[in-house]
């Protein structure tokens, strides 16, 4: 579990994160949602130590990350895997070498053992045929999958994903979401995902935190989010007319005015 207490961060006198506190649970997909500029990427960078917060406390399973020295942070970071928005694959290395790299750097295993592990994770993300390709030769979805493979190759306890679906088509987004969800539950890791994709929220959002202008506006599950009373959250999630209709249908279904999903589908089609 990762817990954050009263995180504050500002740049050039302008506050970007204001007193955010929360808990990200183990074995669950914890989503941070919010519109662009709401501070979710800065918060994630604070969590992994790429940005130092002005104040507040970040604890990984009770270990206070905020007061660790550089060497302790280095050790802690080896328990962290991160998928970046642009995948951040090393251009000069093949897919296989990208995944080999953390193993080469930190593992004392033999070459055969490392190769076995690389093959395992490539298989886990369904990328067996792309070993010898360079990042420039593969699609956006494949890059994300390589990024995930690289992030999990050292068996991290914590996985961070910064906008994993940005730039992907809905079908590929679904594949990436499912993959992240499976990895989270299979390996029982704490996953924190930054997104503004409502499909991801509904598909994999076990715990959701909504941020608005640097503050935590709402927190709950994907079952609760649709009935939230927060106007700011509602205007964020029901930005599209379709979703508004879907919410109305869901309300009707709950109130018993319509019977089942088939009726809902027909009403939406009409």
């Amino acid at each position: 579990m990762i817990s954050i207490k009263d995180i504050q961060k500002g740049f050039s006198g302008k506050s970007v994160i204001e007193g955010v506190s929360s808990e990200f649970e183990t074995g669950k997909c914890n989503l941070i949602i919010g519109s662009s500029g709401s501070g979710k990427t800065v918060l994630m960078k604070c969590l992994v130590g790429l940005i130092t917060p002005d104040s507040g406390e970040i604890a990984y399973d009770g270990e206070n990350f905020s007061i660790m020295n550089a060497d302790q942070k280095k050790v802690m970071r080896r328990k962290i895997g991160m998928l970046f928005q642009g995948s951040a694959l090393f251009d000069s290395m093949t897919v296989e070498k990208n995944i080999f790299f953390p193993l080469d750097m930190f593992s004392n295993a033999t070459k055969a053992e490392k190769q076995k592990r690389v093959d395992e994770v490539l298989d886990r993300v369904n990328l067996n045929g792309a070993n010898k390709k360079f990042p420039a030769e593969i699609s956006g979805g494949m890059k994300k999958r390589v990024g995930i493979a690289r992030a999990i190759v050292l068996n991290p306890k914590y996985l961070f994903c910064d906008e994993p679906n940005s730039g992907l088509d809905p079908q590929t987004s679904l594949v990436i979401d499912k993959l992240i969800k499976e990895i989270t539950t299979d390996f029982n890791i704490t996953t924190v995902i930054n997104t503004h994709d409502m499909n991801s929220v509904m598909e994999i959002g076990d715990r959701i935190m909504y941020m608005y202008q640097g503050k935590k506006e709402w927190e709950g599950t994907n079952k609760e989010i649709i009935f939230s009373k927060s106007e700011k959250l509602n205007s964020f999630i029901f930005a599209s007319e379709f979703l508004k209709d879907a919410k109305d249908m869901r309300m009707l279904e709950i109130s018993g005015k319509i019977d089942n999903k088939r009726d809902m589908d027909e009403m939406l089609r009409s």
Binding site: G49, I80, M82, A88, D91, F106
Partner: protein, 245 residues
């Protein structure tokens, strides 16, 4: 950002490079890779520049030496000392500031913008030690060697052109090369080469590592890095000449 802030950041970057490597083998591999990239990769351009500088020096010096009372072997002495003292270390380094400097700056800038440096940080790798130190060490190993190659080729280029144009037969040129030779000149040239090698890699590394923004800023950082490196090379050239000669 003022010059003192930049200088402070630059010194902090250098300080940050010196930590225990996470894996000696990987760092060694990276050092060898950089030696090939920066050293062997620049051999072609350095050889061409050195040959032409030697050849032109011979032609221009002989053009100015019209007096019959001065031995023609003096031309070889002038070419030798010019090449060793100035042309080989300084001109080679200015050429390398363009070739190596822009490469180092744009490579690190691209890694910064595409979050590759952040990815390495997340893995728990000291990015200054892993990305910058091998480049500086590779330059300190390879650039003095390139300067030695430039000295040899520059002098040989002068000898060759003297023969081809019949301005200076190689027997006289060879005789002149051995006259009044001061070995300290080579030591001085290598001192300059080490100083310039550091400038050529450390300054572009600083600009590339600290890029903020996108492709446009990478280009800007690269240009600033090369211009700053060239100015610093000329400044260091003057200071070293004033102090050591």
């Amino acid at each position: 950002m003022n010059i003192f802030t930049r200088l402070g950041e630059f010194l902090l970057m250098l300080k940050g490079m010196f930590t225990k490597p996470e894996n000696w083998r990987i760092y060694w591999k990276e050092l060898m890779h950089q030696c090939v990239e920066l050293g062997i990769g620049s051999l072609g351009i350095v050889s061409i520049v050195a040959l032409f500088i030697g050849a032109v020096s011979t032609l221009q010096t002989s053009y100015q030496f019209v007096s019959p009372i001065i031995s023609k072997s003096v031309i070889a002495q002038i070419v030798r000392d010019s090449v060793i003292l100035e042309f080989a270390p300084t001109i080679t380094s200015i050429v390398l500031a363009g070739v190596v400097g822009s490469k180092v700056s744009s490579e690190l800038g691209n890694m910064r913008v595409s979050e590759q440096i952040d990815a390495l940080e997340i893995m728990g790798i000291n990015t200054k030690a892993y990305l910058i130190l091998p480049k500086i060490l590779a330059a300190l190993i390879m650039i003095p060697l390139l300067v030695i190659v430039a000295m040899v080729l520059g002098i040989w280029g002068g000898r060759m052109i003297g023969d081809i144009t019949n301005i200076l037969p190689h027997e006289i040129y060879d005789k002149g090369l051995l006259e009044s030779f001061v070995p300290y000149n080579v030591t001085f040239a290598l001192t300059k080469a080490y100083t310039f090698a550091f400038i050529i890699t450390a300054i572009p590394a600083y600009y590339g590592y600290n890029v903020k923004g996108g492709a446009l800023e990478i280009g800007r950082a690269s240009t600033t890095a090369v211009v700053t490196s060239c100015i610093m090379i000329l400044l260091a050239d003057y200071i070293l000449a004033a102090v050591l000669l």
